[in-house]
Amino acid sequence: MADALKAFWWIAAMWIRSAFAYRTSFLMLAVGQFVVTSLDFVVIFIMFSHVKSLGGFVLPEVAFLYSTSGVAIGLADLVLGNAERVGQRIRSGEFDVILIRPVPAFVQTAADNFGIHRLGRITQATAVFVWSLVALDIDWTWDRILLVPLMLICGAVIFGAIFVLGGAFQFAAGDAAEVMNAFTYGGNVLTQYPPTIYARKLVLAATFAIPLGFVNWLPAMHVLGRPDALGLPEAFQFASPVAAVVISSLAALAWRAGVRSYRSTGS
């Protein structure tokens, strides 16, 4: 495990050095990420210039949902996002090279093309997060204080697992990689808004079929002191770690199955 982390850091550090070699491009990418995610928030802001609440949630509350989802997917994308981009290497047969190197294939895939510019997105989401905490009037009991960092970590793990599932899926899917965007970036947009605006079936699917609801909806309801839209037992609001462990285990199994099924290109 320590070796794997060390290897991850070596590869990541190499990519960071290479990113700084093209400084203008790096800056534009980082600022670009910052702006892209800011625009999502500008949209929300403009929506709230016309209305006082969306689905019964006011702007600081939506900002809290938006930013917790943003920080979670940002961290996941930084560390594991490239697992999803393994498709190119599978199609070209370059994955062979990864398998013969003395570093776990998963570590290499995740660290490959490590994009330090993705800090741009995390920075933006963090700024909104801080603002929402200031603007919200939360009764800070100890369970709420603990729940906030826990939901960010579990959210990142859940999104990370979805990225890895996406990577595993590509061993089978070939060209169909884009499907995963529906769950990663789609999941991000979905959880930026309160669950009350969606149809009940959609919220159910996004909680139990894919544990996106555990990223922020369920724990956030406890932090914000609101009833949960599905009317689930209160324990679910603290169950994000369970969801994170379950989906991570599934992702690990899927990844193994994917790597085993890899048959190269024959060229």
Binding site: S25, G32, L39, Y193
Partner: protein, 266 residues
């Protein structure tokens, strides 16, 4: 002329072979459509008539956006990846030797791609949207004809913008940053994130006067019958004006690039 038609046709056929990718794109656009549709319903039910749309019109806007996302390629995914890569690698030098006009050649490539994506990725999301949500789709074939005219003009404008952006590769070695920036501006200014009519007054007017509005806002308004009679032709003229201006700007920039080109690589 025949060579360009042949290029467009063959690019169209090339894209028909990416069936899994097309199905995946349709799936993703549809999921995003569903998510956005609910956010729009929440917004429009709280503020009926916002931006001049009722709920079915706002929902139509969402699904048109998802259907036109791939053809308009504001986020990338069009000819510019290949074109930019040829500039970066220096293969572009060979293209300069070819007895064809470079800008029209790539326009033909992009037209073939866009035509395929309009059929392959455009129809199903809006159909699914119409099954799940109440949409305001017109019955008159003339309105549809006007709509496809604005879409065609919008595609040329979108191409002309992306051509200029890709040409910057002659001066910058790594285009990813610029293309990201162009993608952001394009998606925002075209109204992919939120209809331009919903933006605050002055900003809305400015954005509607910019060329990106040709990609979604104008086609959507034409489909929903917001422009009728003479006004419809003014809209076509507005799009054609931007197409010509931007294509000419692209030509001028090509000339500058050609005079300074230093081919990379050995």
């Amino acid at each position: 002329m025949r060579v360009y038609a042949a290029i467009a046709l063959r690019t169209f056929r090339r894209y028909t072979t990416y069936r899994a990718a097309t199905a995946a794109g349709v799936f993703t656009n549809t999921i995003f459509g569903v998510i956005l549709a609910y956010t729009y319903i929440a917004l429009w039910e709280a503020k009926p008539g916002l931006g001049g749309y009722d709920v079915p019109q706002a929902l139509t806007y969402v699904w048109l956006g998802q259907s036109l996302l791939a053809p308009m390629a504001f986020f990338g995914g069009g000819f510019e990846q290949e074109f930019g890569e040829r500039i970066r690698k220096g293969d572009i030098a060979i293209d300069f030797y070819r007895p064809v006009d470079m800008q029209i050649w790539w326009l033909a490539v992009d037209a073939g791609r866009a035509a395929f994506q309009l059929l392959g990725r455009g129809i199903i999301p809006t159909l699914v949207g119409a099954l799940i949500f109440p949409l305001a789709l017109p019955r008159s074939p003339l309105t549809w004809l006007a709509f496809f005219t604005t879409v065609a003009l919008g595609l040329v404008v979108s191409y002309a913008i992306r051509y200029i952006v890709a040409l910057l590769g002659f001066w910058l070695l790594d285009l990813r940053g610029v293309q990201t920036a162009a993608g952001i501006i394009g998606s925002f200014m075209s109204g992919m994130l939120l209809p331009l009519t919903v933006f605050p007054g002055g900003m809305a007017d400015f954005m509607q006067a910019m060329p990106w509005s040709c990609g979604l806002q104008i086609p959507a308004d034409v489909l929903m019958g917001k422009h009728q009679g003479v006004e419809l032709f003014q809209v076509f003229a507005f799009q054609a004006m931007w197409a010509v201006v931007l294509l000419l700007a692209g030509r001028a920039l090509t000339a500058v690039a050609t005079s300074k080109v230093v081919v990379q690589g050995g």
